[in-house]
């Protein structure tokens, strides 16, 4: 039912973890709900417009885990500008997700965009000081 790309991320997920939320370099994004069965939390550490570290936490099915994991993979090393271009469709294609699991890609991308927004906001606030 699932691709190897999903299975390997479920069985050996990389970049699971938490970054210090209060750090001026860290942006945190969260999407989905536990009640709905899928929730992803993505955090990024940004230095000079580039994401130097990405971490995630996720609750949900295998596809949800793989989507959050893949998002963290893509974010780490990318620039903030590049990262804003990631779409749920790209996640679906990369993981070969079945149609009924497409919503989990939206959750992962939503969480990533919120993290990018917060990091950008914090960076702007920092410059104003």
């Amino acid at each position: 039912m699932y691709s190897d790309a999903v299975l390997e991320r479920v069985r050996d997920p990389k970049r699971v973890g938490v970054l210090p939320e209060d750090s001026p370099e860290v942006g945190t994004g969260q999407a989905g709900t536990l009640d709905a069965g899928t929730m992803a939390r993505i955090q990024i550490r940004v230095k000079d417009g580039r994401i130097v570290e990405a971490r995630f936490k996720v609750f949900g099915c295998s596809a949800a885990i793989a989507a959050a994991c893949l998002m963290a993979e893509w974010l780490e090393g990318a620039t903030v500008t590049q990262s804003r271009a990631f779409t749920p469709g790209q996640v679906v294609d990369a993981l070969g997700l079945p149609e009924e699991r497409v919503h989990v890609a939206n959750v992962a991308v939503d969480a990533a965009r919120q993290a990018l927004d917060e990091a950008t906001r914090k960076a702007g606030t920092g410059r104003q000081r």
Partner: protein, 392 residues
């Protein structure tokens, strides 16, 4: 891979395999051939197997009808009783936690106008005898209650149910597939009229089973597979001689090993539960701890997505709380009152003859690691002091 799915199927025991092998190409006769030695040899082998099956369940050999498996045996029991029932008995009583091989034939009869009462079970998995008493009427043709459940291992009080059913003249059938060779069965003590068995749950081959038909109960049973008149007219078709020999041998082996094996396997099962309970928060046994099959443990995990749990388990062959064919929760677990998410986040362990103490330690370690990993990566634990896991 550690195999802990013995409720699904079992490997063929080498002693069973040895007994079967000559009947594929060396002793290949048709037991219905009455005119030559190959036919007589095949017939002798089938009759020996019939005695072996009968001996394990305390029946006489004449009361054993061979089938292609337990699903056919269940269909013969249910559709066969219905076909022979008088017009004023068009009611069946069964239980919500039965196997689909019982529920589906009952549903098929319901579609033909039969009244079907599906009794609920308590959170223990046990059916309420008062509910049985209330459900059975003089219009009841058949009461079908599983002896030991294939998912939660719960052993139903079949003898008491039979007494209540017989008081109204109903036929009593039990699906005893999981119980055969796992706990002592005396059909006369159980007081059932019909009982279904399968070889492949008992270290025998797939594709063969039997229906116990109590002497006299054949008058209230009509064949569902016709042609050839085999099995005293109750099941037509050339007999699967190697399979039947395998079923017989499996019964004989089980009779020898059962007492010791029950103790050994239940100790391993209890050790598995102890390891899980000691290391994992929010784990619970589904159904009552007892009376339960020695090799069964069915547990649910709080705050875990069931599908992710199953995919993350790579080293242990277990069954999930999902129905065989879909991501729907098991009808057995939901009948116990488990919510969808909790039912899906359940694992069924079926320990068996080959299971070792070292395997149980390794399996527990792997399951604990997977559950811990899934919980650790849940955002519900992202903040210090946050509560564990997701919703139940």
């Amino acid at each position: 891979m550690i195999y802990l799915d013995h409720h699904a199927t079992t490997p063929v025991d080498p002693r069973v395999m040895k007994a079967m092998l000559p009947f594929f190409s060396e002793k290949f006769g048709n037991p219905s051939s009455r005119t030559h030695r190959p036919g007589w040899d095949a017939s002798d082998a089938v009759e020996r197997a019939r005695k072996q099956v009968a001996a394990l369940i305390g029946a006489s050999a004449r009361e054993v009808v061979f089938t292609s498996g337990a699903t056919e045996a269940n269909n013969l029991a249910i559709a066969g009783v219905a076909a022979a029932a008088p017009a004023d008995r068009r009611h069946i009583v069964t239980v919500a936690t039965e196997h689909k091989a019982v529920l589906d034939p009952c549903r098929a009869l319901e579609a033909q106008g039969w009244q079907v009462t599906v009794l609920p079970v308590a959170a223990t998995g046990l059916v309420d005898l008062a509910a049985v008493e209330q459900a059975v009427t003089p219009g009841t043709a058949l009461v079908s209650v599983m002896l030991a459940n294939n998912e939660i291992g719960i052993v139903q009080p079949v003898a008491e149910i039979a007494r209540l059913a017989h008081a109204h003249g109903a036929i009593v059938h039990t699906d005893a597939v999981q119980a055969l060779g796992k706990l002592p069965i005396e059909v006369s003590s159980l007081d059932v009229d019909l009982a279904s068995f399968s070889a492949h749950k008992l270290y025998g081959p797939k594709g063969v089973g039997a229906l116990y038909v109590k002497r006299g109960a054949d008058k209230r049973l009509r064949a569902q597979v016709r042609g050839g008149g085999q099995e005293r007219g109750l099941r037509g078709g050339t007999l699967n001689v190697p399979g039947i020999v395998g079923l017989g041998a499996a019964c004989e082996v089980a009779a020898q090993d059962m007492a010791v094996e029950m103790l050994r396997v239940s100790a391993l099962r209890d050790r598995l539960w102890q390891l899980l309970r000691d290391e994992v928060d929010g784990v619970a046994i589904n159904g009552a701890p007892a009376p339960r099959l020695a090799g069964n443990l069915n547990v649910s995990f709080d705050g875990i997505d069931g599908e992710a749990l199953l995919l993350a388990i790579t080293d242990v062959a277990v069954s999930s709380g999902a129905a065989c064919t879909s991501a729907e929760p098991s009808h057995v677990l939901t009948a116990l009152g488990l919510g969808t998410r909790r039912a899906l986040a359940s694992l069924r362990f079926g320990l068996g003859r080959g299971t070792t103490a070292a395997e149980i330690e390794d399996a527990a370690r792997h399951i604990i690691a997977v559950v811990s990993q899934l919980r650790a990566q849940s955002p519900a634990r992202a903040h210090a002091g946050a509560t564990a896991g997701g919703p139940a």
